[in-house]
Amino acid sequence: MRSTRTGLVLFGLALAAFVGYLAGPRSGLLVLIGLGFGLVLEGLRFGFAGPWRVLVTERDGRALIAQLLAIGLAALAAFPLLAAAPGELVGAHGPVGIGMILGAFVFGICMQLVLGCGSGTLVNAASGNLVGATALVTFILGSFLGTLHLDWWTGLGSLPVITLQGVFGNSGGLLVTLGGLALVGALVLSRAEPGKRRPVPRLLLAAVLLGILATLNLLVAGQPWGIVYGLGLWGAKLAEAGGADLGTSTFWSSPGHAERLTESILLDPTSLTNIGLIVGAFIAMRWRSVVSPQVGALRWQSWAAVAAAGLVLGYTARIAFGCNVGAYFSGIATGSLHGWVWFAAAFAGSALGIRLRPVLLRPSIQPPLVRAGAAR
């Protein structure tokens, strides 16, 4: 076991060193940060979809309180950093619009169907969960397809980008953000049953580590932690290799995105942290002396539903200007109004997804679906 763990540590460090050697120190650092995300999410079993589900179904608010704590910690660092270096750092500031709200709502539905969100799908896949692996493949396709239609969805109606810093000033925006998180926390506590309110030490540790890693991501990359942009870029590169002409795409022909398309993904911050996250989750899974059993067998119709849900997850994350990480976590932590609207819409969708899950995910054998590993 010791040799396996030594090998896993060396594997992670070698990956970061290899990327740093090829693409420069920033890329190497971003792989290390991504490794940290993966180790925390899988190693400490910190998720996003599961906590939303258990609050609704089991009145357990502990993990959601930990999420809010992580976002608050990230906000405490992000607001002053963004104010100190407005040209060098950008927040996850997206516009609120019809397509964005609809996208977040449907994303919320689908994240309960695939047992994971944006980060959760990566973590589940890398830790060997067959549902997560299936969803990841179609998630990449969906993210790419979303880029092709993003302009149309935005054209349905969209407000200007609104930030809490812009409305209330830097200090005021931070206070409103922390106050908003406290208000949501109070609602969660009022919903949760006694004994299911205070996060366990594992979740508190994960929240603190995620806050630190998100801050490091901002300092190193100049942009907040995200997931879906990188997956859409991977899909675009594969589509180009398959003969697609993306020169006519509004999204991929705009300067910033066109540059990403021609450059290596080892220069794209979101791709780098995604790669690190995948490997980090893999290391955390292999670190354990006993590997969890595979998810239970599903009917073929349910596998088709998982694949379709993964596709829709990717598509809707793109038109919603981010997933649970890029919009909810990073959007709120950096003062974007769209992060709050995303949260409300996705939570409503999640409540519907919880009801659809037993209808669409049906075991092929009895007893019912083994829930190996918590939904993220």
């Binding site: 920033r26 516009p95 896949a125 200007p160 942009q223 879906v228 220069l267 995948i278």
Partner: protein, 66 residues
């Protein structure tokens, strides 16, 4: 009608995901513009004096009002 009961274990699926990720990176390195290590950005964006990138999850499109 059921899915095959002989599903791959977690270790096999995880190994396949790592292999696919490695294949993606290899494919990308073979098809993208060569990386110029001498043009690499500074280690930290903060304090670099360089403008932040526009390619991230929340970046508005051309039609989105700024």
């Amino acid at each position: 009608m059921t899915a095959s009961a002989a599903r791959p274990g977690r270790s096999a699926v995880a190994a396949a995901i790592i292999a696919l990720t490695a294949a993606l990176v290899a494919f990308d390195l073979a098809t993208s513009e060569p990386i110029n290590p001498y043009a690499a950005p500074p280690p930290l964006a903060f304090g670099s004096g360089e403008a932040a990138g526009t390619a991230h999850c929340a970046a508005p499109t051309a039609k989105a009002p700024e």
